[in-house]
Amino acid sequence: MPARRYNLHGVSVQVECDGGVLRESVEGLLRAFANAALSGNGDSRTWMVFARSVADAGELPRARSAAAGLAFEQPRVGLDGSSWGYAVWRDRGRTIIEVSDRGLVVVEPERGCAEVWAVAPERWGAEEREGLVFLLASEVLRASGLYPLHAAAVERDGRAVLILGSSGAGKSTSLLSLMRAGWRCLSDDHPLICDTADGPRVLPWPARIELTAETARLFGGLGDMRARRGERKLWLYPEECEAGVASAAAAPALLLFPKVVDWPVSSVEAVSSRFALEELLRLGMVVVDRKVAAHQFSLLARLARGAACVRVFFGSDVKRLPALVDGLLHTAAA
């Protein structure tokens, strides 16, 4: 099994896959980190990651010991309407995620080792496979002090704007609107938040930008949009947009909480840091290991305190968003 090495902001990850479809998913998710120079904000350890396919659930290894304790169960996985459930166990320093009868993830921070097993992944949709790999990657990153947040994010002049919301809230539309105005992409769906001596910073995790056909038509001129088999959305890589991709950490300046409304003109209202923090918890907080959770909670609180927080009601003039954002940043700076 040939190994591939990635550098996720200083976290070195060496991945071995035993199957083509899983390798494709890993490369789709981590492509921005392939061959990257080894420096950054992570904790500089090297992780060994193994991705394996099995033919049926009976072949999944028994990962849990008698000492394992159930951390929590989630009735479904993902925000895409899939029906996977999962259970998260803590077992002598390991985190074990049992994903229905579909797969298994085991993360051992002390050994710097993580494994994922997928049951017949060739029968899954590409997004489902990527979802399972994302479970593993996000757990590895969290153990290394880098926290994924369910948001879109852009950067200009070292400042970041985060657009936070569940699926359908208008994140990708906002992202494209801002990129058209010269903002660079940090991430379409899951930027990373890290702690630095200067406070929280937003790190890029650029993968695909996924759009509905309606959004693609609204902006037009997006070039060669692709579609994955059986999936409704179109996609493109962020570097294919003119503004391109941000390459370094950015200071969070503005947190936008979008809501699409049937109004001709968009409007904004300031929200409290408390509201912002509650939303950040809903969209990015994870509680598996208490020590890690305490750090993430503190980091998100400082993120909410340090940035301007605004709710945006998107009307049909979404292309005006860049001007709206400029105005908000100007006001915040004043």
């Binding site: 789709g28 998710l29 929590f72 169960e73 989630q74 996985v77 993902g78 925000l79 895409d80 999962y86 998260v88 995620i97 997004e127 990527e130 979802g131 994302f134 479970l135 996000s138 757990e139 994924p148 947040l149 369910h150 699926s167 379409d188 769906d189 899951h190 993968a207 695909r208 996924e210 409290s272 840091s273 408390r274 509201f275 912002a276 923090l277 509650e278 918890l281 809903r282 969209l283 990015g284 907080m285 994870v286 509680v287 598996v288 208490r290 959770a293 305490a294 909670f297 503190s298 998100l300 609180a301 909410a304 305190r305």
Partner: protein, 148 residues
């Protein structure tokens, strides 16, 4: 990609107004919340008699060691990692939480609140009782078995 962010879906304890503080309108809160509070009171040996608060007569309350807290401006967000719940607390609620954490009894907290927020003592007492009841029913604080 709409990737799953592994973890339980954290939720507000009982709606976004869960712990709106003691100066919120009297009687706010759902039927469920009242039932929970009454049950908590019953378990603690309180009267439970249809109120959404507890009597704070001399009682001291200890914040759970599990609870994480983050002040934001004059407000507060509490996270209970064990239950997977979080709580937004407004300015006056935040003040009460701080007083309880410093070891004040509910009665002492009410006295302090009536001065700080310029409300009459009976109103402050009722609001503190209600707020403490909500914290207790959510498992964020526990009644100290003996005064100290």
């Amino acid at each position: 990609m709409t990737g799953p962010l592994i973890g339980r879906e954290l939720r507000p304890a009982v709606g976004s107004d869960a712990l709106q503080g003691p100066l919120a309108r009297p009687g706010a809160g759902s039927k469920e919340l009242r039932a929970l509070a009454a049950e908590q009171l019953r378990m603690m040996g309180g009267d439970g008699g249809g109120t959404s608060g507890v009597s704070t007569d001399g009682a001291r309350w200890v914040p759970s060691a599990e609870v994480l807290e983050a002040p934001v401006d004059d407000e507060l967000v509490l996270l209970d990692p064990t239950a997977g719940t979080y709580f937004g607390v407004n300015e006056s609620g935040s003040a009460i939480w701080g007083l309880l954490r410093r070891g004040c009894s509910g009665a002492d907290a009410a006295t302090e609140l009536s001065v700080r927020f310029d409300v009459d003592a009976a109103r402050a007492r009722a609001d503190v009782d209600r707020f403490v009841g909500r914290l207790a029913s959510a498992g964020l604080i526990y009644r100290c078995p003996q005064a100290y």
